[in-house]
Amino acid sequence: MQTPAQDTATPGTNPFAKQKSHRETKESLIKWTLRSATYVILIITASIFTHIFIRGAPVVFSLTPPFINTSFLTKLPETLHVLEDKQGKKYETTPTGVDVIKKQLGDNLRNEKTISYSGGGILGPIVGTILLVGVCVVVALGLGIASAIYLSEYAKQGKFIEMARLAILNLSGVPSVVFGLFGLGMFVLSAPKITSHPLDRSLLAIPLGFGEYISFEGWDTSVLAGGFTLAFVILPVVITASEECLKAVPQGFRETSLALGATKWQTIWKCVLPFAMPGILTSSILGIARAAGETAPIMFTAALAFKDKLPWQGDTGIMGIFTQSVQALPYHIYTLSARIPQNEYSERAQYGSVFVFLVLVMSLAGASVILRRKLRAKYKW
């Protein structure tokens, strides 16, 4: 009874015995190299977030009630004044509060520092970024989805369409500062607008007959010009992703719809777009999150380093949300960290802005994930 058991236990006679070789060592070496590469990325990502969180969170949140520093989120940026008395005590104050403290301190004042843009809050940049992203979304999704529909549903495949695709792909390789210059030339200085008093530098003014002109004089540095420029930065992403999503809708849906007597447009509108929409939105939102972070395209077209009014508070009223220039988070961070002398106060404002910015962008990404889950559940096949 024991004989067969002994037989299989004898090394050498077992046909399934492991072959000793360098192969296993090599395999595990490769596996560990790949694994450590992944871990390095993980560690770097984690340290970026931890760094921003540790430095930025205390600016926005506090451990004492009300736990959130609302003025940082609800006030416009302003110059920070720091007064120091002879005992070494420091007073941080606003430009309007300076005189009061000065009077209190009298001769006790040892020195006074002013730090630009680092006081108040960052409401201006937050509002500006939201407006820019809003315009960018409308333009990029409108133009992008329209051209994706044309490319995937209508265009006959051929040389010309291949060239169009190639051009769109190349667009995504264009540096964003080039988009900024393009936006300056195109939207800021020469886009058409309707006005009763064309500027002297208008490229072309076509009278409309009732005292108004279509004047190619540009939209000035404005939310509109910035939003359009940003839209062109992410258009390649939107078009490519939308086309893929449209192609992923089963051909059977199109055939069935047409076989039931639908026109081509009815088919696209009722049987293709609704099912492609989850994917289109998800990938577009990720593109939009990128657009929100771009600095170069808005530098010449929309953003100001400092502005003491919200866009709708100017003399243009509510239309100011399109026609006014604004502050924007990425440009604000750039200003704080590269255009003013660095000290603890500017750094604080800088990390606070970065933290808020990161939270905004991450909630966009989070929204895209949730949206995808919801729509996928509704329209899966």
Binding site: K156, Q157, P250, G252, F253, R254, E255, T256, S257, L258, A259, L260, G261, A262, T263, Q266, K270, C271, F275, K378, Y379, K380, W381
Partner: protein, 260 residues
């Protein structure tokens, strides 16, 4: 041609000298075929013989393929040339319904699926739509099974129910001809039996053309059967004749399982 064509004076769909190609790939050669009114005609033949292609010419769904070309010949529906310049393919497709191989209801409610053809035809009257939906679901013998859950997703139905919903969806636009492209190939035998039963009921009101790989199915449901081979119509005859006394040796070999 010399193929023994079944010529009937009452033919509803007439194919004459029909040549068809996808680009350089000549798929159909000189087809002559009469499809009688209110009968079931089955197309059989090995894969790639062109039977589905011909079916897809009847409602001009091949128009979607850029390279599809009619090289020669005509197809007439009730005497009207369906490929004529003045024919609106959309109107044609309302009279020639189609059911596809893979059941593919839209991922919407059962009601929306059945009402789709009416919706795109611009029929908005709720009462008319509801009546037509009920009528076509009854005609597809699905009404009793789904009447309590019309507004639930069509994807919750079984495969056979989904295919019957696709048939109901095609019937809702009140076609004269119903084309079925291997409607049972993705279904189990019980669901298949139900569809076949349904086909036999529908022939009273509709002219039905069914492509099938299942010869038993052709034998069970078809009045006449057409056998295709390599893009040619070999033989078209009453079903019993095709199966018991085929005129051509190719047909006999295919039927007896020696080929295909």
């Amino acid at each position: 041609m010399n193929a023994p064509a079944l010529s009937s004076p009452d033919a509803f769909l007439k194919v004459r000298n029909f040549d068809f190609a996808y680009g350089d790939n000549h798929v159909l050669h000189n087809i002559n075929l009469d499809i009688p009114r209110n009968e079931v005609t089955a197309f059989i033949g090995p894969s790639g013989c062109g039977k589905s292609t011909l079916l897809r010419c009847f409602n001009r769904i091949n128009d979607l393929v850029d390279v599809a070309r009619i090289k020669n010949g005509t197809i007439t529906l009730d005497g009207v040339d369906i490929n004529h310049r003045d024919i609106d393919p959309i109107a044609l497709r309302r009279s020639v319904g189609m059911v596809f191989q893979k059941y593919n209801p839209f991922p919407r409610s059962i009601f929306e699926n059945a009402a789709y053809g009416l919706d795109v035809a611009g029929i908005k009257n709720k009462k008319v739509v509801a009546e037509t939906v009920e009528h076509s679901l009854r005609a597809a013998t699905l009404w009793e099974e789904v009447k309590d859950r019309l507004h639930e997703s069509a994807l919750g139905l079984s495969g056979g129910q989904q295919q019957r919903l696709c048939i109901a969806r095609a019937l809702a636009v009140k076609p004269q001809v119903v084309l079925m492209d291997e409607p049972c190939s993705a279904l189990d035998p019980i669901a298949t039996a139900k569809i076949e039963e349904l086909v036999l009921q529908l022939r009273e009101k509709y002219t039905i053309v069914i492509v099938t790989h299942n010869m038993e199915q052709a034998r069970r449901v078809a009045d006449t059967t057409a056998f295709f081979l390599l893009g040619k119509l070999i033989e078209h005859a009453p079903t019993s004749e095709i199966f018991h006394n085929p005129a051509k040796p190719e047909t006999e070999r295919y039927i007896s399982g020696q080929m295909g």
